[in-house]
């Protein structure tokens, strides 16, 4: 009985069964939540995106590997060869470009094996993440040679909603994977550009 009384909120502090004194703390926390999960994403959505690749632009895939995205694609993340940073960073771990719903994603990382072994490893990770039931390879791995003579391997895949390709290259101790994903129709429309982008990957003579 005494316990029930102790748990009851004094009448002067009661509002809808809650203790009025707890409201400022609760509302402040809700305010922070609203600010970062509702207001800021809304503001972000209102700001237009305009970082289009122009003819002649090259983007850094690693500190000494670059490629030439097709003009008109939007650079979502990544540094151009002409970009200068205060930190001295010349490339980002991931490069992402989009055009017409097609995503071109490149990622670098430490790798000491062959391009084929890298492709197998990427396929394993990607199929696990996507779910084995919804991910299937659509083409067998084939050799790909860029315009500068770099050898890589390439395979196609499909999921219930999209199609795509995975390419793997190795430059010294650095592996590079490229994934291109999109709806089948859009992907077909851009296939020539995508081929040229892959072909333009090259290792520069020296790092900047």
């Amino acid at each position: 009985m005494a316990r029930a009384r102790a748990a009851r909120v004094p009448v002067e502090h009661r509002i809808f069964g809650l203790d009025r004194r707890s409201l400022p703390f609760a509302l402040a926390a809700v305010g922070v939540w609203l600010l970062w999960t509702v207001v800021l994403p809304w503001v972000d959505g209102r700001i237009g995106w305009e970082d289009t690749i122009r003819a002649g632009d090259r983007v850094q895939l690693t500190d000494d590997v670059t490629f030439a995205p097709a003009p008109g694609w939007g650079l979502q993340s990544g540094l151009r060869t002409t970009d200068r940073t205060s930190s001295g960073i010349t490339s980002t771990p991931q490069v992402e470009l989009t055009n017409d719903g097609v995503i071109f994603l490149a990622q670098r990382g430490a790798w000491k094996g062959t391009p084929r072994a890298l492709l197998d490893q990427i396929t394993k990770i990607t199929s696990t993440e996507a779910g084995r039931d919804s991910f299937e390879l659509s083409t067998r791995p084939t050799t790909l040679q860029t315009a500068s003579g770099v050898d890589g391997v390439l395979e196609g895949f499909r999921t219930p909603r999209s199609e795509g390709l995975i390419a793997a290259f190795v430059f010294g101790d650095t592996g590079l994977q490229v994934q291109v994903v999109g709806a089948p129709a859009q992907l077909a429309d851009r296939s020539e550009e995508i081929g040229r982008m892959l072909s333009s990957i090259r290792q520069e003579a020296s790092a900047r």
């Binding site: 748990a7 009851r8 909120v9 069964g17 809650l18 203790d19 004194r21 707890s22 409201l23 400022p24 703390f25 609760a26 509302l27 402040a28 926390a29 809700v30 922070v32 939540w33 600010l35 970062w36 999960t37 800021l40 994403p41 503001v43 972000d44 700001i47 237009g48 995106w49 305009e50 970082d51 650079l75 993340s77 990544g78 540094l79 151009r80 970009d83 200068r84 940073t85 205060s86 930190s87 001295g88 960073i89 980002t92 771990p93 990622q107 990382g109 430490a110 790798w111 890298l118 490893q121 990427i122 394993k124 990770i125 696990t128 993440e129 592996g175 994977q177």
Partner: protein
């Protein structure tokens, strides 16, 4: 007689005002903070489960390594926090609630979305190069510190009697920050493994973990300890008069250190980056020392009011009371002036036992309960040896 009555009255007042000895009950359905806390933790937990489940097969080794290494780091840090919590022990259930809120709700129900939105805005407005340099340092201090601050406020709302002093702010804030740090480390482990295409996962995770542990002084635990202490000053409680200037200084310090640490490469460039990191570490330690010093003032007053009657009844000496409520030199003085029959080590035990007595007195609201009598008897036993 009047003096004794007065000192007992002051003891009762000190216990009532300080909230020392107050208990914490997590289940508070009449408290709005309880429901907001549950909602945020549930939301964060859903994110964690979904994220881990989608990569479960691919990064099992990384997750296992991260759990073991982060678990060991947590144990070491928990021991440190328990040791630092010298005035009034934070109830374990409150510490756990702060840890879970900081680890699950703050990053995954609040900060992760905010971080993404602000970074996207920076890239759109200032360009890729600028964003590469500054987006981390100009995002995390605002989003992550306020997210953890929100969890700290919920803790204040859930435990208004327990969290009343700046010292409480430091300790509970540190628990919130520790939770954030550990869960963030586990997700960084996934990133580290992913960055090597899922190969050599243990080595990748341990490398990242070792780097974060070595440079761990300016960590989320420290930032949120400062932020929490600052919030107590800004809000003010019955035990801590409002001091907005000090509070804002601590809040700003937490955000500034976080920002400089995350932007060290851009500030120092390739040449001075290590120097910037070192300086930040030094300033972090100085700020923590200052905050502990500020926090100690009020707690010392409470300790003096609670333990002064024990000098009158002969349980402890005046020098021992000074040692309990003073600084290192007062402790040294008490050790010097101990009775000849008591060893230096034994006198240190007496001082520790006197703190236990203060805790028991606070828990009994100053009444002579069996626990209080036991603690007094312990002090006598230690002296008699």
């Amino acid at each position: 007689m009047t003096a004794i009555t007065d000192s007992l009255e002051r003891r009762r007042d000190a216990i009532a005002v300080s909230g020392w000895g107050a208990r914490f009950h997590f289940f508070q359905p009449h408290n709005a903070c309880f429901w907001v806390y549950l909602g945020l933790v549930a939301s964060g937990l859903w994110y964690v489960i979904t994220a881990v489940q989608s990569t479960r097969g691919a990064f099992n080794e990384a997750y296992a390594t991260a759990l073991v290494s982060s678990g060991l780091f947590t144990l070491a840090f928990l021991w440190f926090l328990h040791w630092s919590d010298r005035w009034e022990r934070t109830p374990a259930s409150l510490a756990l609630a702060a840890f879970v809120g900081g680890g699950v709700a703050a990053p995954f129900a609040i900060a992760i979305t905010g971080n993404g939105a602000i970074m996207s805005i920076y890239t759109k407005v200032f360009g890729q190069a600028w964003a590469t340099d500054w987006q981390a340092g100009l995002t995390a201090p605002f989003v992550e510190e306020t997210s953890k601050g929100a969890i700290f406020l919920l803790m204040m709302g859930l435990a208004p009697v327990v969290i009343r002093t700046v010292s409480d702010g430091l300790i509970v804030g540190a628990y919130v920050g520790l939770g954030f740090q550990i869960l963030e480390d586990i997700f960084y482990a996934q990133n580290a493994a992913f960055a090597q295409f899922g190969a050599h996962q243990s080595e990748a995770v341990l490398g990242t973990f070792a780097l974060r542990a070595i440079t761990g002084i300016p960590s989320h635990a420290l930032y949120t300890a400062l932020f929490g202490a600052g919030l107590v000053y800004v809000i003010g409680t019955s035990a801590q008069p409002r001091r907005v200037g000090r509070g804002l200084a601590l809040v700003a310090a937490a955000m500034l250190f976080h920002g400089v640490w995350d932007s060290a490469a851009a500030i120092g460039g390739p040449v001075f980056v290590l120097f910037v990191l070192f300086l930040t570490m030094v300033f972090c330690l100085v700020a923590l020392f200052v905050a502990i010093r500020w926090a100690g003032g009020r707690e010392r007053e409470f300790m003096r009011d609670i333990m002064t009657p024990e000098v009158a009844n002969g349980t402890i000496s005046a020098a021992e009371l000074d040692a309990l409520t003073g600084h290192r030199k007062d402790k040294r003085a008490a050790l010097r002036t101990r009775p000849e029959s008591v060893s230096r080590r034994r006198e240190k035990h007496v001082l520790r036992a006197a703190r236990d007595l203060a805790e028991d007195l606070a828990a009994s609201a100053g009444a002579d309960t069996p626990e209080v009598e036991h603690s007094r008897a312990e002090i006598s036993r230690l002296r008699a040896h």
